[in-house]
Every structure is written in structure tokens, then in C-alpha cells.
């Protein structure tokens, strides 16, 4: 398995609280992605990074921010969590972006009450 971990794996929080999810890789891949997976919507891209301090928005970026201060870590922050952000969040990495495969982490199940 590719060296990619996500933390926490499960989290329950309340509406209005800030939440940070962490993705950590040991593969030294350039590209990192955050997706959310919801029934009926498949996987949707939230934000991605193409290098340290280089990030861009995805399809569903409203309400989310990201940071990448070093190659191995990509943080996803929900500034003020809402119930609509209840989802399973996946991080993925790639060394050549979309030109080859992405490796996925195990996911974080987030519940916002």
C-alpha cells in the first residue's frame, strides 16, 4: 500500500466548530487531493495541491480551506462545520497529477451534529 495516512479516522463534532483533517504521505509525491464522498454524488474534489504552498480549488470548495507547508502533509480545514459537511473525506496522492494513478488514503468519517 502507498504510504498515505489520514487522521483522525472518525470524528463527531457540533455545528459551528472548526475541524482540521490531516493527510500524511511518505511517498514524496507532488500532488495531493482532498475529496468528499456522499451517497448519490460519488467522489467530488474539494481542493488539491500541486506543490508546497501551491493549492487550487475543486468542484466543492466552499466552506473548506487547505494548507500545505511541507511535501508530506496536506491539511483540510472546515472553518465552521455545518451538517451538510457530514461526509467521508478521502485524501489522495499522485506523483504526476492526472497523468497516472492516484493513491487513496483510508478515509475520515466526519459527522457534524
Amino acid at each position: 500500500d502507498a504510504g498515505i495516512t489520514q487522521s483522525p479516522r472518525h470524528k463527531v463534532t457540533e455545528t459551528g466548530t472548526p475541524v482540521t483533517l490531516r493527510c500524511h504521505q511518505t511517498e514524496n509525491h507532488r500532488y495531493m487531493y482532498w475529496y468528499r464522498q456522499d451517497p448519490g454524488h460519488g467522489l467530488r474534489l474539494i481542493h488539491y495541491s500541486y506543490g508546497v504552498k501551491d493549492t487550487d480549488k475543486g468542484e466543492v470548495s466552499d466552506g473548506y480551506s487547505v494548507s500545505r507547508s511541507k511535501t508530506e502533509d496536506f491539511l483540510l480545514t472546515l472553518e465552521s462545520a455545518t451538517s451538510s459537511q457530514t461526509s467521508v473525506y478521502f485524501c489522495a496522492i499522485s506523483d504526476r497529477g492526472t497523468y497516472n494513478e492516484q493513491f487513496f488514503g483510508p478515509g475520515t468519517r466526519l459527522t457534524v451534529l
Partner: protein, 112 residues
């Protein structure tokens, strides 16, 4: 809207039979990828086919790509119980910026 749309949404077959899933997309692509997701797990890459390729094989997997029809199919031959999973196609749009676009997936169940 989603670039890739899988068909059928769910498929149930007997072990040993072949399973075929289809993916349609809307815009020109650089490549199309298929992923598998077991329940409660992350996605695992199966195969990538580039826009200038028409067919690709990997073990019991066969993928075809028809760019004129903007469609792809994934064939799993001699299915096994362990093939039970959701299968997703993902497209790399030709004018995109290093972003894959995933379909909603096909849920495949292999009955023993």
C-alpha cells in the same frame, strides 16, 4: 455535473460470470481511469487508458475506450466473490488542470 456516468448503478451476477460496466463522459479527455472501492475502504487504482488507446488488459480486466462515443467499458472476466465492490471511472479532462472527475460508481455484487 459529473463528467463520468457509470451504467448500471448496480449489478448482481453469479460467481464465474463476466461483469461489464460502462462509463460515459461529456468532454474530450487525456485519459480515463477505473478504480475499485471495497466497503469502508479507500479507492484502489485498477487501470488507466489513454485517449489514443482503444483497449487495454490487466489480468482478468479488459477496458475499452471509444472516444468518438465518449464511452468506456470495464469487463471483469470469471468473476470471484472478492470482486464484490464499487467501481468508479474517472476522467482527466483535456482542458482540465490536474483534476480527475469521478462518476457515481457501479455497485457490483458477486453471488457465490
Amino acid at each position: 455535473s459529473q463528467q463520468g456516468e457509470e451504467d448500471p448503478q448496480a449489478l448482481s451476477i453469479q460467481e464465474g460470470e463476466n461483469a461489464t460496466m460502462n462509463c460515459s463522459y461529456k468532454t474530450s479527455i487525456n485519459n480515463l481511469q477505473w478504480y475499485r472501492q471495497n466497503s469502508g475502504r479507500g479507492l484502489v487504482h485498477l487501470i488507466l487508458i489513454r485517449s489514443n488507446e482503444r483497449e487495454k488488459h490487466s489480468g482478468r480486466l479488459r477496458v475499452t475506450l471509444d472516444t468518438s462515443k465518449k464511452s468506456s467499458s470495464l469487463l471483469i472476466t470469471a468473476s470471484r466473490a472478492a470482486d464484490t465492490a464499487s467501481y468508479f471511472c474517472a476522467t482527466d479532462p483535456a482542458r482540465g488542470a490536474q483534476k480527475l472527475v469521478f462518476g457515481q460508481g457501479t455497485r457490483l455484487t458477486i453471488n457465490p
